[in-house]
Amino acid sequence: MLREIGRRLRVLGRGARFEQDLDDEIRLHVEHLEAQLRAAGLPEDTVREAVRQRFGSTLRAREESVDAWGWRWLEQLVQDIRFGARTLAKQPGFTATTVVTLALATGATTAIFSVVNGVILRPLPLASPDRLVQVASIHPRGNIGFVLASDLDAYRRQSASFERFAGYELTTRQVPHPDGAERLTAVISDFEFFSLLGVEPIAGRTYRTGDPSAVAVLSGRYWTRAYQRDPSVLGRSITLSGNVWDPVRRQSILEHRTYTILGVMPDTFQFPYGVGAFFEGPMREKETDIWIPQQDVTPRRFGQVTGRLKPSVTVDAAASELGVIQRQQDAITPSQSRPKGAVLTPLAEEVLGSIPRTLWLLFGAVGLVLAAACANVANLLLARTAVRTREVVTRAALGAGRLRLVRQFLTESVLLALGGGLLGVGVAWGGTRLLLVLGSVMIPRAHEVTLDWRTFAFLLAICFVTAILFGLAPAVSAARADARHVLREPGARTTASRIHTAIRDGLVIAEVALAFVLAVGAGLVVRELGRLQRADTGMTNENIVTLHLTPKVPAADYFAIEARVAQTPGVQAAGFTQMVPLQNWGWIGDFSIVGRPLERRPTAELRTITPGYFQTLGIPIVRGRNLTQDDTRDDPSALLINETLARTHFPDEDPVGRELDRGRIVGVVGDVRQTRLDRPVQPEMYSTVTRNAGIAADIGMTLMVRTQGSPETIVAAVRAAVREVNPNLAIFNVKTMAQVRADSLWELNLYRWLIGLFAGLALLIAVIGLYGVIAYSVSSRTREFAVRLALGSDALTLIRLVVRRGMLLAAIGLGLGGTLALAATPLLRALPSPLDPDVTTFAATAVVLLALTLIACTLPALRVVRVDPIHALRQD
């Protein structure tokens, strides 16, 4: 059998020479025959006649000899492809339209599939990831979170469901750098961490129980960034500084430690996932740079605990076991604040959260778009088939098999689909990049997403499925073309064809409606973005540069830096804040007003600043005075409130001088958009950095500098000033305030891209759909038009007739879409960033759609003019 295949392949490899040999062989045979007949003494005429009669036999000899090797199909395929390519090349407009539509649709589908594949389908790159679970405790107030170290100890000793556990915590560390210091994202874990995950380092080794605590493991990317992948880094030491909570002094202190580098993890290794979710604002980080074991003092609790279940232990069984162990702990050391239960979440679920639902939804949406694109291409092909009926009939009459005809049409469809797929690779690549860039904050595992063989297999499968979807109907309709039928009853309309027309019309109406809804949505998002970009924030955003500094250092350092930077030439003002505005983060606290009993304690945004902050951002002090460096945390500490807080709680009196339990109000400042551009102003309170030394110390402070000219030029001088005051401070996230403001709209930007792309695709598809329907109706009514023209009809009247049909379909679609969009209005108003539908957007979208419809209908309608009555009538 194998040898037979080998022989077949050898024949295929000989190609044209194989047939040449056959011809030679058969010619020789005939010549011998001729010679034999002549030798028998037959007259020349008879000989020639006898040889001529052999023609059929020699032809059969050649054909069947070729067939014997079973390569006929390939030969026909090559023929079909050549013929198909020629046919397609003859209609560049049609081919380009179809290929581009398919490229966009398959490319978009593949882009989303590649993200679905990388994020959902591929298992986490850890050893047996299905047995890893995230362990959390239920605390008395109902919140789910950290695990007590004593509980973790008990789990380790008593649990029969788990192989091992690891507790860890996410934090930041600073490392010396030529420019001052660099901030790293660090994970502090116990020694079980790496053996739990079961991932091998690419260099050196990881730490395990029994190792000293002053060791560190680097991430592949940090190794590349800081050491250019130098293997000699193993065994070298690295000094890290960071804020550590001092339980005795009850405050955050700065600590320096030196670690020996043990190993380096692969570039793709990131654990825990979703590091960005732990930090907010300018701290949003995607990657961990370094892992260090927990220090000599065991912490009281762990923010994160991951466990590995023993094989075939269920999550529920393990959870109830941990619950039992916890209750025993409660019996040993009873306390009101002890956790009241354990929650286990499979790691994959914990990592992905609600993302799979969103991605599948997106995948479904883009799949619908692809289906609509297929339907359109089918329509276009059907229109073409109608035009090609004569060709088909002629070929069938000349003996082309019905199957062969179907195959010819399918080959053309596959060629179109593959052409679309080839371009689609580019679309998929670009689309995947765009999705990851725009959604990197939201999409976990984004760093693992690559275009792998599965993606390409998917793309190829999509191409063939679409080719069959849109190619089958025209192919079958071509095969059904019956010569007699076509000749006798040209353009006859059967019930079946009337149903087909209804389906096609309905499809186009739906496409127009969908395009309208999406285009209105895109228009609303664009309008909202424009509105927010122009919105008044209550502060100056021009010529301001922001620089984030960690770790937290004593207040005196901030005052010193502020003073130094303010004196730098070119700088107008400088000041610190702990939380930069417009970063969607904040710190909310409650308060009470002395001498005014309230049922519920009101809340306010708390901000920690240095006095220069208000001048830098141009926030006016409307009453009282600014804070000064002398306003310390000593009782009573000075506070500033914003106008909203003053208006809400002191409507008829001067708040300056009033006492709150958080301090004494010394002044009132102007309102600013603190958290987000689209959120109304909240009540706010400002105090100086001398207070609240412990609050969220990891976050550090942001220096805001207002400059005379372009803000970027001042950065080097600011860096120098910071280094002189405290070389341990790492400066990062250097951005202008304009950038901060633009970046704060990333979510709306993402929506704009997504809905904009979808709307664009839907518009394109609707227009092509309209074009297809009109082209089909024109080509199937050619005879009717010819008769009308022959009878003296005006071409313009006919064109109007055709265009009117298209416009009618579009109008119905618009009506439907408009109704849908109006119905969705309450939904849009309820969005996290509400959209307010308006007449202008609706009207503008409708005008654009109708204009496109007019073009899409006029193009095929113009063909009516080109109908030559004599030719069209004679065709039949």
């Binding site: 037979e4 022989r7 020789l28 045979h29 090797w69």
Partner: protein, 108 residues
Amino acid sequence: MARDLIPPGTLHVLILKTLARGGELHGFEIAESIARESGDVLTVEEGSLYPALQRLLLKGWVTAEWSTTAGNRRARYYQLTRAGRRQLETEMAQFHRVNGAIARVLAM
């Protein structure tokens, strides 16, 4: 020249047998040999001979080589392979068995 056509399915055995007897032959020689040996009863047309030869090549029962004829023409010469010889023996045995049986039935 009203000669009988070869019953379907037997042409390849005839070719194999002819090659077994004659050694290396080209297509025309095979056709001639079959006609001659059958006493001019059986005739082989190109339309069936050459496809049959290709099928035998595919099966690996014969091999072919280009060589020159006595008249100095390029011709493809066919030769039986070992597998072809085995196939011939099997089919001959089967043929004799079936034919014997048919003959016995017809003789009754």
